[in-house]
């Protein structure tokens, strides 16, 4: 039982990370019907910006750990959001009216560009986040000893997802994002500035992806310039699992995938950790291609 609860926490914290990344895929898909293949690399960049702040800037030398975490989170989100906006301007906007395949090729190109940029700047070997940000390493709860960092990561992703949910469902800007996802031309006729909405999506999605990168660094310590590939693919699977284009779906898909993955590695074998994702992907694509909460995929393609 205790092992199960530990695994559940592992799954939830990992799932929260998948969900944050998946939101970027799903939001961009929603408004542009495009898979942003560079999203995984924006996630990687988030992890490296966090690393720079910790190691090169030495942020923990000047402020206490809580403040350091907040500053890192804000900086990473701002930096990666800026890259996201630049990415959309440079790689996607000029191709908005071109055949779909051009944008896909452009997305792959952007992914290679970002990945190589990270490698050139930081080198090809992996880097390790310094320990000690979390002064107390475990939290005791109902007789369980829970690693504090996992609880922290889970809390952050839950809070961020709740805020995003309210932003999308309860604000006029959120309604505009949903409207653009439903019908671009109708949105433009109503007076929605579609370019502005797309820009907002490329602020929010990459900011969340970057934040997820930072949290992977905090949670697992080790980062590499290729990490965005596997995490990206898994988060993409989570987005498909929840129903691509569907925001609550991405949250749900991420959490479910995280839990499946940690249960599989605990109770089947660690070797199954990555493979299980692809089993899930194949299963959804054959059984329910629209995902759990998805609908109307035929209309969207």
């Amino acid at each position: 039982m205790e092992n199960f609860l530990q695994q559940l926490l592992n799954g939830l914290s990992l799932g929260g990370i998948y969900a944050l990344i998946a939101l970027g895929y799903t939001m961009v898909y929603g408004v542009l019907k495009l898979i942003n293949f560079a999203h995984g690399d924006l996630f990687t960049i988030g992890a490296y910006v966090g690393f720079t702040l910790l190691v090169s800037v030495g942020i923990t030398d000047s402020v206490d750990p809580m403040a350091a975490l907040i500053i890192m989170g804000a900086t990473v989100m701002l930096f990666v959001a800026t890259l996201g906006v630049g990415l959309e301007r440079a790689a996607y906007r000029p191709l908005r009216h071109s055949p779909r395949l051009s944008a896909v090729v452009s997305a792959l190109g952007a992914s290679i560009f970002f990945q190589n940029a990270v490698m050139l700047i930081y080198g090809a070997r992996f880097h390790v986040y310094p320990q000690g940000l979390f002064t107390k390493s475990t939290l005791s709860l109902f007789g369980l000893y829970l690693p504090l960092v996992k609880v922290f990561v889970l809390m952050v992703s839950l809070v961020v997802m709740t805020l995003l949910y309210f932003f999308i469902q309860k604000t006029l800007t959120g309604a505009a994002i949903r409207a653009v996802a439903i019908d671009h031309n109708a949105a433009r006729l109503v007076g929605i500035n579609v370019d502005k909405v797309v820009t907002i999506v490329f602020v929010v999605g990459p900011a969340l992806g970057g934040l997820a990168g930072l949290m992977v660094g905090l949670l697992y310590g080790q980062i590499t310039f290729t990490m965005g590939w596997l995490y990206g693919l898994k988060a993409f699977t989570a987005a498909i699992l929840g129903g691509i284009g569907n925001i609550p779906g991405a949250m749900l898909g991420g959490i479910i995938l995280g839990i499946i993955e940690s249960m599989a590695s605990a109770y089947l074998s660690i070797a199954w950790k990555d493979a299980v994702t692809f089993v899930v992907l194949i299963l959804i694509l054959t059984i329910r291609p629209t995902g759990i909460l998805g609908e109307r995929i035929a209309e969207k393609v």
Partner: protein, 237 residues
């Protein structure tokens, strides 16, 4: 002159859909464009709203050229469109659809007042305000589409076949409301229709379009008795 369209040429790829359209709308008028399927009526309205860029020609609104502006800028200047097939945001609520119609409006109180006026005009929308737009009946959807367009407080309202798919009684009631909007709210109306009888019953003037050209431009009264119009658009009697 509120709207002036001159020499408008529009192409889809290599195919020319409008071959040089001239039309104008005076402030306070209800003007209709009649024409068969594929005549270019929707193309004309979409070009006025800035969704399609004209190849040649000009469109001016209040004596200002608008054919190079973005759709949202055109809405902000005071032209709103009720598109063909309504194009509501089906998974958004009725109220969200209305509020998005006012997204170009900065004045919060003005938006709230406009929302109340829409609910006065179409009380059923108030009852349904938290329901998803996609669950409304056809008539209610058309009311919502009109309400959504009115939310931007347009000077000129473009409507593309609002009678499409509605029962005759509903068409009558929608057109009466349009007349009321024109008379009481001072909104100028440019109405595209295939239902010529309904359109001419409220219009002051009308144009007849055929395959990308305006072939007739007359007072509504004369169009109603014009033998060609009678034959082609009024069922021949």
């Amino acid at each position: 002159m509120l709207l002036k369209v001159e020499g408008l040429v529009v192409k889809y790829g290599h195919i020319e859909a409008l071959h040089g359209i001239d039309l104008h709308v005076e402030e306070g008028e209800v003007v209709t464009i009649l024409g068969a399927n594929g005549a270019g009526k929707s193309t004309t309205l979409l070009t006025i709203s800035g969704l399609i860029r004209p190849e040649k020609g000009s469109i001016s609104f209040n004596h200002k050229p608008i054919h190079k502006l973005q759709p949202h800028e055109i809405v902000r200047l005071g032209i709103a469109q009720v598109p063909e097939g309504r194009r509501l945001f089906g998974t958004l609520t009725v109220r969200e659809n209305l509020l998005l119609g006012a997204i170009t409006q900065k004045d919060k109180q003005g938006v709230a007042r406009m929302e109340d006026r829409i609910y006065n005009l179409f009380p059923i929308l108030k009852e349904r305000s938290s329901q998803l737009a996609g669950t409304l009946s056809g008539g209610e959807q058309q009311m919502l589409a009109i309400g959504r367009a009115l939310m931007s407080r347009p000077k000129l309202l473009l409507l593309d076949e609002p009678s499409l798919g509605l029962a005759p009684l509903l068409v009558k009631s929608i057109f009466e409301t349009l007349e009321e909007i024109n008379r009481n709210e001072g909104v100028t109306v440019l109405l595209v229709e295939q239902n010529a009888r309904a359109a001419l019953s409220i219009a002051h003037r009308g144009y007849v379009m055929e395959t990308g050209r305006i072939v007739l431009s007359e007072e509504a009264k004369s169009l109603l008795v014009n033998p060609d119009v009678k034959k082609a658009y009024l069922g021949g009697h």
